[in-house]
Symmetry: C2
Subunit: 126 residues, 2 copies
Amino acid sequence: MIKRNTIQRQLVLDTVRAMHCHPDAEQVYSEIVKDHPHISKATVYRNLNLLSEQGMIQKINVSEGADRFDLRTGEHYHMRCRCCGRLWDAPEGAANVSLTGNTDGFSVENVLIELVGLCPDCKNKK
Amino acid sequence: MIKRNTIQRQLVLDTVRAMHCHPDAEQVYSEIVKDHPHISKATVYRNLNLLSEQGMIQKINVSEGADRFDLRTGEHYHMRCRCCGRLWDAPEGAANVSLTGNTDGFSVENVLIELVGLCPDCKNKK
DNA sequence: GTGGCTGCAAAATGTTTGCACGGAT
DNA sequence: ATCCGTGCAAACATTTTGCAGCCAC
């Protein structure tokens, strides 16, 4: 199916690229609505899903709350603060994963990693 | 708060222990309802959450669909088939993760890993 | 002009919560 | 007698979908 370039699709992509906080769909919508009050939340969801299927952005499932979106698409891992809920890209080399191939005939195609802990801000609040 | 031993709580625990398929809440409920038609789904949810907080079972977030529950509570990883959706415990040593400590001041407390791929059954169907 | 895309509302999915009652301690 | 746990329904959070009109191609 041929995909069209719509203003809404470009807005969703630009907004995710501009926000460096791993926003969820609601946050992307809120940001766009400021300048484009007519956009529908369904359109934001549809385009976030489409763009992540096309590899333009990455959809990130986290163990608490709504899915987040990220402009980086290469394989990398995420750190989630269990206190404030914010999400970060883990620095290059923060975690190294090696697969031994001993997976009972299961073919691993993708490794998803979430590092859960406390961010510096939340540590200082204690 | 002191926790009471109720028939429903024991049923939820026993059922998760008896099912070796990483069921979600709906599946646990369906299994219990066969013999105990009066149990409420809310009770199943409440007890699954309580038991996982107590460390009796483990709650597993997966990147697609509802949360699953597991009788194993020690740290281990999971493999999810992207075709049939089933979940398995990854064999001991299937994946080795090393943290380098290079996490920009973020304190990692827990590492969650999901290996996504194809199970032997789904590979054979192709 | 065609058919994908949008906005809107409604539905679907997964989970939690308020409340009155019943049962364990 | 207390008060925790239950069943029920309703609320909630997140996401998807049906549909009529619109707009990019």
